[in-house]
């Protein structure tokens, strides 16, 4: 909402054949795994069709144990679910202190 900036981040080689784009945002410290990406900044990534939540984390090199919640299009998304082209993904660590 506060920004319309979409940085393009192509991780790995562009795959010939069936790839799809996801829009990803990471929050609350997970940005440390993505050099050049800031907290809450949306970026696009190309992934093979059929990529799962877990597959995306592998591609982004974010340890699964650090991701408390994965959302796709504003809904809870399990690591085993498969993305659809254009899904908007948000990743959060546990922000649980009080």
């Amino acid at each position: 909402m506060l920004f319309k900036l979409c940085a393009k981040l192509t991780v790995g080689k562009f795959l010939r054949g069936d790839s799809m784009k996801l829009e990803v945002r990471v929050f609350s410290g997970l940005e440390k795994y993505l050099p050049g990406i800031t907290f809450g900044q949306a970026f696009e990534i190309d992934v093979p069709e059929g990529t799962t939540g877990r597959g995306l984390l592998v591609k982004l090199a974010i340890p699964e144990s650090q991701v408390f919640s994965m959302l796709a299009n504003g809904r809870h998304f399990s690591f085993d679910q498969k993305f659809h082209p254009g899904d908007r993904v948000a990743l959060f660590p546990p922000v649980g202190g009080g």
């Binding site: 609350s28 410290g29 959302l71 504003g74 649980g96 202190g97 009080g98």
Partner: protein
């Protein structure tokens, strides 16, 4: 009817559009439960007491520790070792004798959660762990009470207002307990003013809810990054397969 003293004490509230004397009377009759009297609960409870919320329940089972004082502004150096609810209740009463403060020195469990929240209009989640948050979430859903979720970590914080049956709940968003390997404030630290920001926003949501003002943070997770001084909003939907609220 407000007394002369109350008209003066709350004059800046009463001047606000859509608040007035009637809104102030409503606040004085309201019952708010603040669960946790640490980094989030301190500013949240302070602002609610200052605003003239008539009844504030303060729940915590901890005692004040030296390492708390960097952010938990309800407590002072001489309070170290005292129950947090005793220390917190004392400060709130000293701030505003119109507010009845109910100190509940208890750990929220599956057995007592329903009873603890029962007599309150709105619950403010200022706890420091997800297992208690899930218990509060479920108790609030079963009793259809709004809950204001807040959490902090390092330089960031987040909050969301949960209206059972109307918007997403905590379990729509978070499903499991965090991995033991995930970062926590005890490991990565927390800048004291960050829970100050989030706790103040939580108290703002409470007052908006009680007085029917504006738009609540329902279905909107508001995230704060102190380092870039930016807020981000993530829009959320109810999860039809939510283990807590799907049946509502």
């Amino acid at each position: 009817m407000l007394t002369e003293t109350q008209l003066k004490r709350y004059t800046r509230n009463i001047l606000l559009p859509n608040v007035g004397a009637a809104g102030q009377e409503k606040l004085l009759q309201s019952r708010v439960l603040v669960v946790g009297s640490g980094g989030l609960g301190s500013p949240a409870a302070y602002y609610l007491a200052a605003a003239g919320v008539g009844h504030i329940g303060l729940v915590d089972s901890d005692k004040v520790d030296l390492s708390n004082l960097q952010r938990q502004i309800l407590h002072r150096t001489e309070d170290i070792g005292r129950p947090k609810v005793a220390s917190g209740a004392e400060k709130l009463r000293a701030l505003n004798s119109d507010t009845e403060v109910i100190a509940v020195e208890k750990l929220i469990t599956g057995e007592n959660a329903d009873d603890v929240v029962r007599s309150y209009d709105v619950i403010v989640d200022c706890t420091d762990n997800f297992s208690v948050r899930y218990l509060l979430n479920d108790a609030c859903i079963s009793q259809q009470k709004p809950m204001i979720f807040g959490g902090v970590l390092s330089f960031s914080g987040q909050l969301m207002t949960i209206m059972p049956g109307e918007g997403p709940c905590l379990r729509c968003l978070f499903r499991e307990d965090p991995s033991p390997d995930a970062s926590s404030c005890a490991e990565v630290g927390i800048l004291g003013a960050v829970p100050g920001v989030i706790g103040a926003l939580q108290s703002t949501e409470v007052i908006k809810y009680l007085l029917g003002l504006g738009n609540l943070l329902m279905g909107r997770l508001l995230t704060y990054d102190a380092l870039t001084a930016a807020f981000f909003e993530v829009t959320l939907e109810r999860d039809p397969s939510c283990p807590s609220c799907a049946q509502l």
